[in-house]
Amino acid sequence: MIELDKVAMGYGDRGLFSDLSLSLPAGSFHFLTGPSGAGKTTLLRLCSMELAPSGGRITLLGDDVSRLSRDQVALMRQRIGVVHQDCRFIDHLSLAENVLLPVTVSGPLDPEDHKQRDQLLSWVGLADRAENRPPELSGGERQRAALARAIILSPDVILADEPTGNVDWDMSLRLLDLLIELNKQGKTVLCATHDLNLIRQAKSRVTARVLRLRNGTIDQAGAEL
């Protein structure tokens, strides 16, 4: 589903990793953890094709991403839901419009889409904030909205970068429930987080693996958590 083969990446002449290989099978649930600055966000942005690796090969849903045209990249992104660490909204649109954006850009809207959006918004506890603009929301509210936007097209893969970074424990558990529920529907989940409690909580409910990114390498840290 997601495969990294000897991927190299860095910014400028500062290498972050030089030989990273990873394979996430379809329907799997992975946490990505590691110290701040290790490259978790970078790894997720490689998977969402926002960054191109300087070496190696990335395969998404069976396609070598370096061979995709710009339109194919767009179509691929409609099958991958991304929650960015900094959320990335369009600030002059309402939250409802932002959440619906992936549907808007992928084709004509139908009334079902609005229903779906309203359901998702109440799921993440934002039904009464739908008409607010993103800058008017708290950090946690924005992250919940970003998760709603990431899954509105019912993508095959969900990449979430610290989706619970700014929310309280109860809301963290609710968002985790949502991710687990989506995973049970067969979606592949990759979730970067610092929150070891969240990982422990998840492990009792889903077969999740933990990838630890450190010094440019990944080790499977499942056992000791």
């Binding site: 992104r77 991304v82 990335r88």
Partner: protein, 295 residues
């Protein structure tokens, strides 16, 4: 995508790109100003074409024979010329101008109370050519032999430079239109680039949620096309009012031609459509260039 659907757009793609900003004003105002200039240029080109056509029509097919000879030979030569003309194929009619007519011709220069009897004026014969016209060289040779004081003048000598000038004027008009169109395109491309740069974050977010380049491009292109069209329409209407208000009149010569008659009034209406098409192309290229820089 069909043109009506493109022009109507959809509510959301309109909302995604914020409407305000100096680029909107820049596009509308420059399209209006350029359309204003374009209409005048078209009027000028139109006038010079009309003028060239009028000179061509008035002067083509006519000629003058002028006979200057010693007093005792004038009458004989005049008769010889008239006979020669009547025998030449391609000559429709030949008519000797009488003294009154000559007086009228000279009046603008010498006043109407000129004592013509005291002057010895050349005899003038007004010739109108028929069909393809006469074999001018053959005719000139015959006249030289039979009436050495006669000169056959086709008016070509002074007609040619006038027509040449009129057609130069028209070429200049067309060149000006091309320049106006290019400058308009460049300004709108710059405005569109600025708008795209100012909205770079929006473009990036759209790409991240899976928008294709075509979708993003359309949102911008549609805006700029409509702005340029309505700006140019306003400029065109104002220019047409000004052209309509130019005082006309036969005596005004070149100036009286500056304007549109009848169906010619449809010509300026091409300007807003052209502005829309230019804006479409310019914005499209600017958007494609900007999008290549986004992920």
């Amino acid at each position: 995508m069909k043109l009506p659907a493109f022009l109507a757009g959809d509510a959301m793609s309109n909302r995604v790109v914020p409407a305000t900003g100096f680029t909107a004003a820049l596009t509308v105002i420059s399209a209006a100003a350029m359309a204003f200039l374009a209409v005048f240029t078209i009027a000028l080109a139109q006038a010079s074409s009309a003028l060239a056509a009028r000179w061509e029509a008035e002067l083509a097919g006519t000629a003058t024979v002028r006979i200057t000879a010693p007093e005792e030979a004038v009458e004989a030569q005049t008769q010889a010329v008239l006979v020669a003309l009547s025998q030449t194929p391609g000559i429709g009619s030949a008519r000797r101008l009488d003294t009154d007519e000559q007086t009228r011709l000279l009046a603008p220069w010498f006043g109407s109370d000129l004592p013509l009897e005291t002057l010895r004026l050349p005899v003038l014969i007004e010739v109108s050519e028929a069909g393809e016209g006469p074999d001018i060289n053959g005719l000139k040779q015959r006249l030289a032999a039979e009436a050495p004081g006669a000169v056959y003048d086709t008016h070509g000598r002074w007609r040619a430079p006038l027509i040449e000038a009129a057609s130069r004027l028209r070429q200049l008009g067309i060149l000006s239109l091309v320049l106006i169109a290019s400058v308009t395109g460049a300004i709108i491309a710059l405005a569109a680039s600025a708008a795209l740069a100012a909205n770079a974050q929006i473009v990036d977010v759209l790409r991240l949620v899976g928008a294709r380049d075509g979708w993003i491009t359309r949102a911008f292109v549609r805006r700029f096309t409509l702005r340029a069209f309505f700006g140019a329409l306003a400029g065109t209407v104002v220019a047409m009012v000004f052209v309509a208000l130019i005082p006309g009149g036969v005596e005004a010569g070149v100036l009286s031609g500056l304007g549109f008659r009848g169906a010619e009034w449809l010509w300026p209406l091409v300007v807003p459509v052209a502005a829309g098409i230019i804006a479409w192309g310019a914005t499209y290229l600017a958007a494609i260039r900007r999008l290549r820089q986004s992920a």
